[in-house]
Assembly symmetry: C2
Homo-oligomer: 474 residues x 2
Amino acid sequence: MTNLERLLDRIIDRVNVNLREPAFDVGPYVRGLIPWGKFVKYYGFYALTLHHPLHFHFNHSSLAGSYFLGKCIVDNSLLYKSDIRGDELKSRGEVFRYRGMDIPLHDDEVIRIRDSFLVKNLVHNYSHDPESPEEFLIQNTVALQFANIHGSPIEGSFLGPFATVDLTTVHDCVIGKYSYVQTGEVSHRYVEDGSIWIHAENAFNFNFHFHPEDLRRYVDYQPGKDPTGVFMDFIQERKRDFIAAFESVDSRHSIEVPEGASVSRYSVIKGNTSIRENVLVAQRAYLEDAWLGRGSNAQENCYIINSRLEEYNITAHGGKVIHANLGRRVFVGFNAFLRGSADCPLTIGRGSIVMPHTIVDLEEPLEIPPGQLIWGYIRNRKDLAFHSISLEKLSRTLGEVVIGAMIFQGNGREFVQAFRHRIEHILEANGAYYSRKKNNPGHAQTAQNISFNIIQPYPEGDRAGLYPTIDIRP
Amino acid sequence: MTNLERLLDRIIDRVNVNLREPAFDVGPYVRGLIPWGKFVKYYGFYALTLHHPLHFHFNHSSLAGSYFLGKCIVDNSLLYKSDIRGDELKSRGEVFRYRGMDIPLHDDEVIRIRDSFLVKNLVHNYSHDPESPEEFLIQNTVALQFANIHGSPIEGSFLGPFATVDLTTVHDCVIGKYSYVQTGEVSHRYVEDGSIWIHAENAFNFNFHFHPEDLRRYVDYQPGKDPTGVFMDFIQERKRDFIAAFESVDSRHSIEVPEGASVSRYSVIKGNTSIRENVLVAQRAYLEDAWLGRGSNAQENCYIINSRLEEYNITAHGGKVIHANLGRRVFVGFNAFLRGSADCPLTIGRGSIVMPHTIVDLEEPLEIPPGQLIWGYIRNRKDLAFHSISLEKLSRTLGEVVIGAMIFQGNGREFVQAFRHRIEHILEANGAYYSRKKNNPGHAQTAQNISFNIIQPYPEGDRAGLYPTIDIRP
């Protein structure tokens, strides 16, 4: 048995101990999922910049194909082709505000990953957990393909493929495939597949469930196998395009990068693609025949194809936008899948919000008016009626609204304001409003000049696939 | 002033303090020698294998384009495109024999480089210094282009371009350009340009000096400028071929690599080149229309062009072999330059030894018989007579022999035996005699499967060109 095999067993044991309630065995899901040879094959890399805190510590782990930025401590973990981004970590001396409380930080915040198995995940920092503001901990956790762990400390949990936990502390939970959870805290829960659940205490609750049959077409999975369905087919078809990006030590895109914009060398840029000032194109983003207006951002694992996105659009981690025209300030949430076609284009009016984990897969042309909130599964105009509400109308809601399979309870204005506030934060953090005079750089500006250091595992022997112990500080 | 500039000043000060006797200011030689932008441009890399000890520690240093293998600790140093090889380091518990004394090692040996500026050097380990068997120290030292530091702890010294110190502890010395020193220990000396000096206490002394005018044609240098002359022209003409080797993350040569052989991915292989079993082609070796017989090795910075080398040839670090046919077991020493041409080919008979730092630059065809020792500067048959002796005749020498500008004193047999013993050691260490049955791998076999981890400096700001502090252990 190699060290890598022993490590996987150790991780399985630890996750299972946590998941004794709800009773769940992660073993079948992860054993054999990634052939051992692949852990040897891919290099990992970490980013070196002046603009981010820096401390990398990797110990007894495999990091195949993974990307690290900021302060990341990894022990006894298998991180496979995951993006670990610590570029918004809090700093020592900063004060973290939580529900009116001021919590001063005694140390710089770090992302700490222990005894976990993460596959093609996006981990984004700035833990919101008031109990541990200096440490964004992911421990005893298994997260499958294209799950997003976004400012969400997680312990003893299992995340199905394309699941997202967002600003939520998770203890001992199973989060089903393509579920989105943003509830502040959750423990000992089994969140069913395709749940969209947003909850703020004493304010609002948003709930939607995909129909299992609908969902199965887009994402399905069997223990120990790659997920199947439309999402994976879509990604697989474009997988080869990333090879060139990862092959050379210092490739540059031929695209023109205007003032204030940044294009990751680990992104794919194809066809007639153009970006404007202050645009951020993150690593593993994919643009083909895409036009991105000023201050837009294309985040990790997103795809924007045959589409025009006006100013200040956000395509969040894993969002997919195909044959679409998006007006100003349209927000496309995590892992949303918006697929028009040449015959059935999608238009979304300005200021609309596409909820995380929304599927719009058109069988007729569709025009969504400005200022809408949309969610769920939409193929045509009829579906739209059951999966949207105007933000203006929602803002006037106090109490309960039921539309199709969606149930909203609470204060609509707070819900809309929370969303709008967050969108503004994302735009600002990503550098959309940067101007040289004001000197308020965001990710787009600070990512303009990054060195990438490439790290590889032992190529053979008992340690094959494991990385040496590495400690890097300024 | 950037950190890099301050670091260079610090190094200059420390070397100069050591070199107050002989009075020598290294400042003019190193200031402006490498444009600051180049320290930012090139990545360094370290090798990860199961077959070598592993500990890398880099602190407050620039490592642009440098290569590390084994246990290497670097503090406050500028290593520019240097090869630091720690693959023969002694291990804890081993017993180091020195003149009949047994010295047990309390720790694993490390290469430790401090406050030094090394440019395009080859540093090869296994310190022979009995006073410090656990540490191969290079401190307060400046070494210019293509100097070799071979098992030679050095403190407070300056090495001119193409100089070699070999198995010699060096304190506070200036070693002139293209000088070769193998004397066990040397302090407070100014070794003149083009000195070939081999000394073994109570055994023998070999001394030769190049004529300054002859030497100037091949290597010359002015403070703060790149060296000039035939050697540099030759290297510059082939420099571009290395670009492809360093550009991609995991390139492979198309050459067929037989059983027991190894070809570094950071070498250049051109034209109709063929290698046999157990051949070692090291990083930054250059082969063009070359044929290498079984067990031969092409070491770092060597060039073998339009040549056929029979079994068990050694082309040592920096050796150049052009239009030559070398018989079995020919040894070509450090930085030797053997240049025939299509009209004036060079033939060297089996078992001959080309001394380190020998220039054979032909104006007529030349055939050197088997079993010769050759040195100095040879353009034709007439020159050969003044720069060679048969090993058999030398072995019978006891006392003094003067041939041309060479003077030999002492026991010829011991001199020849020492050389032959060393050649055998090199062949064995490089894996020339490897067979799967006997399982005695050398460098050629242990280098077959190496991961290369790529490290880059800060790209901008005060730290531009400096690397972060990195610590890597198994």
